[in-house]
């Protein structure tokens, strides 16, 4: 057991050294290798294709750098091939590049997260968002928003939410004989659509039964806080949101 633990620590230490050395030396070029060997599935810029987007700080199959190197070397059968042709140093360089795609650099923020939490509560953000199980689930869950978005983006969302909508986000208005339901699209296929309304209720409609389905592109039910927060309150709120890293 101890030997196994020691090996694991040694392996991590060795990988860390290898990773650091390759990043510092900038050789081999992880980006070039990625573009020629990985991008066919993950996209030339890592935004995904047949394989998933890698622009995320947490990778589903690679909890840490060692696991990421393992995935690159061995693949994920049956879909993702391994990379027998790469040396360990080349694998490490690809791993470093992949990590850089989703990395959110540490930022020194002017606000205070503790005060920001009080701003969050006083502005009733929890009426639409959930943090650590508290709040209502109309808007996106925010428990790990700081691990997914940088402070610049968070600031933009608070001030002008319609200008920073995620690509998959869509606000819709579905009209049946009984009336219109407005809400966030939570699922859609070629024949059905599911919508969550402001009370958090789910609605499911067959498209063939709808009189009208308006796709309200560029719209969001989230209000703008531009002008309603002081500069200090905005800094504090952004610091609080950036501190929400989720479960490690």
């Amino acid at each position: 057991m101890l030997a196994s633990y020691t090996n694991s620590v040694m392996a991590k230490w060795f990988f860390g050294i290898t990773l650091a050395a390759s990043v510092l030396a900038q050789t081999p070029d992880g980006r070039k290798i990625f573009e020629s060997q990985c991008a066919l599935c993950h996209g030339q810029t890592g935004t995904g294709g047949r394989g998933p987007s890698l622009h995320r700080p947490k990778l589903a199959h690679a909890a840490d750098d060692e696991a990421l190197a393992g995935v690159i070397a061995e693949g994920i059968p049956p879909e993702m091939p391994g990379s027998w042709q790469l040396t360990p140093r080349e694998v490490a360089s690809v791993a470093a590049y992949v990590r850089s795609l989703g990395a959110i650099p540490a930022e020194k923020l002017p606000g205070d997260a503790a005060r920001g939490e009080r701003v969050y509560q006083s502005r009733r953000c929890g009426a639409c968002h959930i943090v650590d199980g508290k709040g209502e689930g109309f808007g996106p869950e925010l428990s790990d928003i700081g691990a997914r978005r940088n402070a610049t983006h968070l600031r933009q969302v608070v001030l002008r939410p319609a200008s920073a909508l995620p690509e998959e986000f869509l606000y819709v208005a579905a009209t049946t004989a009984a009336g219109t339901v407005r809400g966030i699209r939570v699922n859609e296929d070629s024949f059905f659509i599911q919508i969550k309304d402001a009370r958090g209720q789910f609605h499911s409609f067959a498209k063939s039964e709808l009189k009208d389905l308006k796709r309200l592109r560029g719209e969001t039910p989230m209000p703008s806080f531009e002008g309603s927060l002081t500069a200090a309150e905005l800094d504090d709120l952004v610091a609080y949101l950036a501190s929400l890293k989720g479960k490690s």
Binding site: K32, E35, S36, Q37, A39, L40, G43, Q44, T45, T47, G48, G49, R50, G75, P77, P78, E79, P81, G82, W84, Q85, E167, E188, D189, S190, F191, F192, S208
Partner: protein
């Protein structure tokens, strides 16, 4: 009486002689070759399921595979359904889905699928043997009664990147296969093997060597040796003329064409080959000097029609490059063509069918936005042709892409792509089922899909069109109008080709969705 005796014998011994496949239209209860008939129609003459009763269609049985995103197109012969998965085949009781036998071949540990998924698109049957193409590039003949291996033939070495995912095509005395590996710098070919012995009968290389016709479309040097031209989708066959029609894949490296100036024959082409010798009778190139990975690996649809008052033997192809083509299948002459899906790379086709390429649509270092994306306006999944509606049904993908050009250096067994693509942000990625007039490609109707399609199309004499969607639906449309008739959410992406068969007077539809093969009936 003679006919009755023949059918009795067939049921007893599950023999599928060549003549039975030739006359598939007279044997609608069975599905005896990849496309249902040699002509590539994926049309069922069965008519029990109609627009009026299909609302009552439901699952009769299901079969679970070990692998995801199953692409198999089953064969059904005399009450037995034959299916495949990567290096696996099985015989099922077509009435209940219960396994009768199962065969597996281990996948070598060092095998890699370079540029495609680990899939298999189905078996072929001839006489008493079932033929399966394996990922590690063997063609295997199995006894239909036991699954016992009768012979296996090494088609190529998988280590440099050759592989097989397609359903073989069994014609008179021969079994034909093609290879995957267009992103690994292979030199593609179509092979024919003697069905009885497994001995190779002929090979047609899709990239001509020095001194062979077409080689002058490649530069001097060795570019032709890694020129691609994979052949990974099953071709069609005309028994009257003994000509095989096979689609050829993209040139390599895919997105950096600098090392291969010229048209790069016979990549992105359709070729007509003599079934006895493999000699090429004609070729037609859809996308000369391709730099977008637009393989022309489609099932060619053979039909007879009138051109300016004269009856001719024709072949229709809805191409990955977003154009629909009609050619004379005796000569390869271009008859008609038009755009059938969104594209931004060509102003159209000239009077010989050659694209009028818009400048600066090639991949570039900074990225070039072009429609369609690398998977094309349609890809390997089958179209369908109904001789009753005279319509060509095709699953369409409408996605654009930013194409990048990168350095390409050949190393056996690795990607030799020279670039790739990235999604265009904030653009729709949708699909459709489209019905085109077979002789012109003119749109008759369009049924929009929320997601870009990965599923083929089946049309039937009952007047329905069946397909599936990446968002998990198997659905039926009215073949004449495109009106939605029925849908069923399977819970997984539908990435396969539907078929139809009958048992005890009941018509069934079979189609796979992710890990599950579903069989539907009334």
């Amino acid at each position: 009486m003679k006919r009755l005796i023949w059918f009795f014998c067939a049921a007893l011994s599950a023999q599928v002689p060549y003549e039975r496949i030739v006359n598939a239209a007279k044997d609608p209860a069975n599905w005896l070759t990849y496309s249902g008939n040699y002509q590539g129609h994926r049309f069922s003459p069965l008519s029990q399921i109609t627009p009026l009763n299909i609302a009552g269609m439901h699952v009769k049985w299901a079969y679970q595979f070990e692998n995801p995103r199953t692409e198999t197109s089953p064969i059904v012969a005399d009450g037995v359904m034959y299916i495949t998965a990567p290096n696996m085949a099985a015989a099922l009781d077509a009435r209940t889905g219960r396994e009768l036998w199962k065969w597996n071949r281990p996948i070598p540990k060092d095998y890699q699928s370079i540029g495609f998924g680990r899939v298999n698109r189905g078996p072929a049957i001839l006489d008493g043997q079932l033929f399966v193409a394996t990922l590690d590039c063997y063609l295997v003949a199995l006894d239909v009664k036991s699954g016992a291996e009768r012979w296996s033939a090494k088609v190529e070495d998988y280590k440099p990147g050759y592989s097989m995912t397609l359903a073989p095509l069994a014609i008179k005395g021969k079994v034909l296969v093609g290879v995957s590996g267009g992103e690994a710098g292979i030199r593609g070919f179509v092979d024919a093997y003697d069905a009885a012995s497994g001995k190779r009968a002929w090979r047609f290389y899709t990239v001509p060597a020095p001194g062979e016709p077409g080689h002058d479309s490649w530069p001097a040097g060795d570019a032709w040796k890694t020129g691609g031209g994979s052949t990974w989708v099953t071709g069609s066959y005309d028994p009257e003329t003994n000509l095989v029609y096979w689609g050829i894949g993209n040139p390599g490296p895919d997105w950096n064409p600098d090392s291969r100036p010229g048209d790069n024959l016979y990549t992105c082409s359709l070729v007509a080959l003599d079934g006895d010798t493999g000699a090429m009778k004609w070729h037609f190139q859809f996308t000369p000097h391709d730099s977008h990975d637009w393989d022309s690996t489609h099932v060619p649809v053979l039909y007879d029609g009138e051109v300016r008052g004269v009856k001719r033997k024709l072949v229709a192809v809805a191409n990955r490059n977003a154009f629909y083509y009609v050619l004379d299948r005796s000569t390869g002459e271009f008859i008609a063509g038009r755009e059938y899906a969104k594209q931004t790379w060509s102003k159209g086709l000239d009077d010989r069918g050659r694209p009028l390429v818009i400048p600066n649509t090639e991949p570039s270092a900074e990225g070039t936005a072009v429609y369609p994306n690398l998977n094309g306006a349609t890809v390997w999944f089958s179209p369908s042709y109904s001789p009753l509606t005279n319509l060509f049904y095709v699953s369409v993908r409408e996605i654009g892409s930013i194409y990048y050009k990168r350095e390409a250096s050949y190393k056996p067994g690795t990607f030799f792509a020279g670039g790739g693509e990235a999604a265009i942000p904030n653009t729709e990625r949708t699909g459709a089922i489209r019905a085109l007039e077979v002789s012109t490609g003119k749109l008759r109707w369009d049924f929009p899909l929320h997601t870009a399609s990965w599923s083929g199309v089946l049309s039937t004499a009952g007047g329905v069109v069946i397909s599936g969607s990446d968002d998990g639906n198997v659905f039926a449309l009215d073949a004449a109008s495109g009106k939605a008739l029925w849908n069923f959410q399977t819970g997984g992406p539908v990435v396969s080709n539907p078929i139809s068969f009958a048992m005890n007077g009941q018509q069934y539809i079979a189609i796979s969705s992710d890990r599950v093969l579903y069989v539907f009936g009334l």
